[in-house]
Symmetry: C2
């Protein structure tokens, strides 16, 4: 069954080439427009989402012993959807039963299935946008992109990387060893790809699809059945994904149970039981460092790929576009209320101020410049709601309230739009303040006064190496200092963005170009999607015999 | 400093192409002949080895707090060489001091250095042969090959794989994102390779260079300083390697301490202290499953790449060349007295016998056929010594003695040649006998009576999956059953050789073609050399900024 593969082969080849070249590329338009998705797509997505609310979610043939589901939208309306739930042994058994057929399928068959799944997911991007919005708190425009096309990009990236790796070496070869004057020894050799075992993907609350697709598709493409364990507060986007995956698998003559949904209830999570099952050999995890550490310590039978927490920084050394810098940082701090793993938290500013195109700016001038830019950005309530979205987890809102006492308030947090919301809280602290030494997840930023710009670079890079960081940013005009910063942040294993202004933000990680998370500091041990992310998900076993004469 | 790279580029490109195509290829002749190595090479190697005995080994500039060394040749003469030894903190500090310059070197510079090291090692292959012979007990012909050119092949394979992976993606890119009717966003992006940290290679007694070179060269090429920890009984081959590596590094303007020798004394090993040092982030280990498990449990700060123990099998179902099969197995069982990680241990034979070109053969006929072929192979004492070599570890000889009680003796073990020697012991046991369920390292083979051939395949594949195996062999004439065996052994993650006769043996693993150890069963978690073996030894950190207009 390689019809899907043949259909999608041009897209696959373009994706592989994009991975090599690392320029801009995507097959999935990020603009939520009828021009790309069909004139009725917007209405159909809304209608489909509305029709799902308050009803049981249908997942034909899926193991089911009961119904679970208690998602509540951060914006207020309650989805009220229930999902089929099964206990851990039933899920493991179903995955294991699907494994042999999936392993026996050719790379072409599996990659074709993965690409067909992604293509069908793309078609329901509006529905995925609503599902993502009402589970994560992202405003719709962002939920459409991050839950739809951008997540699909990340999935396709993993599929392309897996394909490239599965086909990197010859599948068969004739090995002919000279024997001096005697006849050569001639052997035929064949390699079988051996999948690692059952894969588990543990989703997060804030980016249920974007952060889960790389693991799901890397494992599935390389022949491992995948159990998808959503965060109990963000099930729907992954349930929709699992449903389409199962449909496509069945159409390809492969077991639908090669992709399973593991729904649990808050307070009765089954994650630990799943993760430590001996059959589970691959785990992809996005979430807290504490649980990441638990997985590494306890799920020792599995390879564990993680994206954990860190402290992202901006070092402000100088700028030739003060207004542009402040506006750019305002957006980065406001977008989804700081709930992106790529959002900056600590801003290092020299205590003596910086040089700018508007002349010298003191520490407080810079702080007020950023605060003012946030105020301007969020002045229009509708626009503010469209940028900040809502707060996914009530604990985050409580953290914002508690953080007010942690420094000098430069800009206070305030509600923005409907539901559980909070605009950025800006606090000024001194270098070395312990408040700025740990992740404070949510719309809280620390403006840290440093001796000078080089001290800021050292603090930011040192913190990334010690506590982890997914992004770092720098504003500077001194090329020699920029070169020092490039070296320091590379040593700390963190991706650095320099002098961003305009419509490009440090929060943004572009599929096929940026390696998201480096794997080289405590913010995660894996990178989406490099070779290491796919290469150990399968092995090669050879058989060889004398070649027929 | 890319002179070395330019010089060796054609060899590098040929090696990368060989890895893809997986046919026969090597730049290092395996025949110990003056034709390839120079007319005086043999004598020079002997003289150099003789001159080293009883003297301190010179390693200029190496950390040294005392001298250690107590190697004793399994053949009798005692090398009596002492080596510079340093304590763990001094070795770690030296490695860390070398790390920044090694990390800052280009991939070209590091790969050039690695290839120059290998080329110079090739030139001293006769000396390496003697050094290997008198530390491992391999007969000279084998010691020359396995300690010299074959080990160099394995090192080059790792370098080529590392090079291919380091250059797999663009090192810089222009990323241009369309913005509808507005001007596109144009970013320049650059990636820095970030090495993992200090690397530790833990050598074994039987193949000090062959098993250590992949890890040493994979780590060094990707920018990680390497501490080489030889087995206390097999230091010299790795000391020679470290000396050449340090010379080449210095000539290239890189720190000699990027490769260090960690010598210790039997009973006072420093391996655990080295392996658990927080600076050590990569460990390559060859040895027992017990210590492999200890490393995985305790050296949790490091990535651990292992080749451990397993039980290799031969399943005998049928043959159309009974004499050729018996002769081939006789050689595989006798070579280096079963001390190869690829040597077969369990031979599964149907209790009702097999069909052959010589008619039906009973279980005992097959057993006697193999025993007789061993006797014939080893009839000439000089030839026998040249095949069996000596026993590296006295414990192995004790194990052979104890094994006699574990089954019905088909062929007894006996001394062969000078020194600590033992020819193969063949024992008949029933299927399910616990004696044949674990590794019995050395010249001991169990002939296991099975219900039929398919039962033999099931037992052999099941044991590989449970206990690990590096090789499996099958003799059969039934293509349908061969296909079943291919599938069964692939599921068990073990490489399978079918119907070997003549001058090709299941023990042989060919660089650039065979992936040695699959990583897919308990015999090891890594494969020499696949992508996974190199891909996590470094990471990529990006810096990006708006492209200059």
């Amino acid at each position: 069954m390689t019809e899907f593969f043949d259909r999608h082969r041009p897209m696959l080849e373009a994706a592989v080439e994009a991975l090599r070249a690392r320029g801009f590329w995507t097959p999935f338009p990020e603009v939520p427009s009828g021009k790309f998705y069909g004139e009725s797509a917007r209405e159909e997505g809304e209608a489909a989402f509305a029709a799902m609310q308050g009803r049981p979610f249908d997942l034909p043939g899926h193991p089911e012993s009961r119904r679970l589901g208690a998602e509540a939208s951060p914006f207020g309306p309650v989805p009220g959807i229930t999902y089929p739930a099964a206990d851990v042994p039933a899920l493991i058994a179903a995955a294991q039963a699907a494994a042999p057929a999936l392993a026996a399928a050719t790379p072409e068959a599996r990659v074709g299935v993965c690409m067909e799944i992604l293509t069908r997911l793309n078609r329901i991007s509006f529905l995925l946008g609503h599902a993502t919005m009402h589970t994560t708190g992202q405003a719709f425009a962002m939920a459409f992109q991050a839950g739809g096309p951008h997540a699909q990009d990340r999935g396709l990236e993993a599929v392309a990387m897996a394909w490239d790796e599965m086909t990197r070496f010859a599948r068969q070869a004739v090995w002919e060893k000279p024997q001096g004057k005697a006849a050569p020894i001639v052997m035929e050799k064949h390699w079988t790809l051996v999948p690692a075992g059952v894969a588990l993907t543990i989703g997060c609350n804030t980016f249920p699809t974007w952060n889960s697709y790389p693991g799901i598709f890397a494992s599935l493409a390389t022949g491992n059945p995948v159990i998808v364990k959503p965060h109990p507060a963000a099930i729907l986007p992954l349930a929709l994904t699992v449903r389409i995956a199962r449909e496509v698998l069945a159409e390809a003559g492969l077991p639908a149970d090669a992709v399973l949904l593991a729904v649990d209830a808050p307070g009765a999570e089954i994650t630990k039981d799943l993760a430590t099952d001996p059959a589970v050999r691959l785990i992809d995890y996005t979430g807290s460092t504490a649980f990441g550490g638990w997985l590494r310590a306890n799920a020792r039978q599995a390879q564990v790929f993680t994206e954990e927490a860190g402290v992202n920084t901006v070092t402000i050394a100088a700028t030739d576009d003060f207004a542009g810098m402040c506006a750019n940082l305002a957006f980065s701090l406001s977008l989804y209320s700081g709930q992106m793993c790529t959002a900056p938290q600590n801003l290092y500013i020299p205590e003596g101020g910086i040089e700018t195109d508007q002349g010298h700016k003191s520490f407080d001038d810079v702080a007020q410049g950023i605060a003012g830019a946030i105020d301007a950005l969020l002045a229009d309530p509708a626009r503010a709601a469209g940028i900040c979205g809502a707060i996914a987890n009530p604990a985050t809102q409580a953290r914002v309230a508690a953080a007010r006492a942690m420094g000098r308030v430069i800009r206070d947090s305030a509600p923005v739009g409907e539901g559980r919301t909070a605009s950025p809280l800006l606090l000024a602290v001194d270098a070395g303040d312990p408040a700025a030494e740990a992740e404070c997840f949510g719309p809280v930023a620390f403006l840290v006064a440093t001796k000078d710009a080089d001290a800021g670079i050292a603090l930011a890079a040192g913190l990334a190496a010690r506590k982890g960081a997914i992004t770092a940013a720098l504003h500077d005009t001194d090329e020699a200092r920029i070169a020092r910063a490039v070296a320091a942040f590379a040593r700390a294993g963190v991706n650095l963005s320099i002098n961003l202004t305009g419509n490009i933000f440090v929060n943004q990680s572009a599929a096929f170009s940026d390696f998201h998370v480096t794997g080289a500091n405590p913010a995660g041990n894996a990178s989406l999607t490099d070779t290491a992310f796919v290469a150990t998900r399968f092995r090669r076993a050879m058989w060889r015999r004398p070649a027929a004469a």
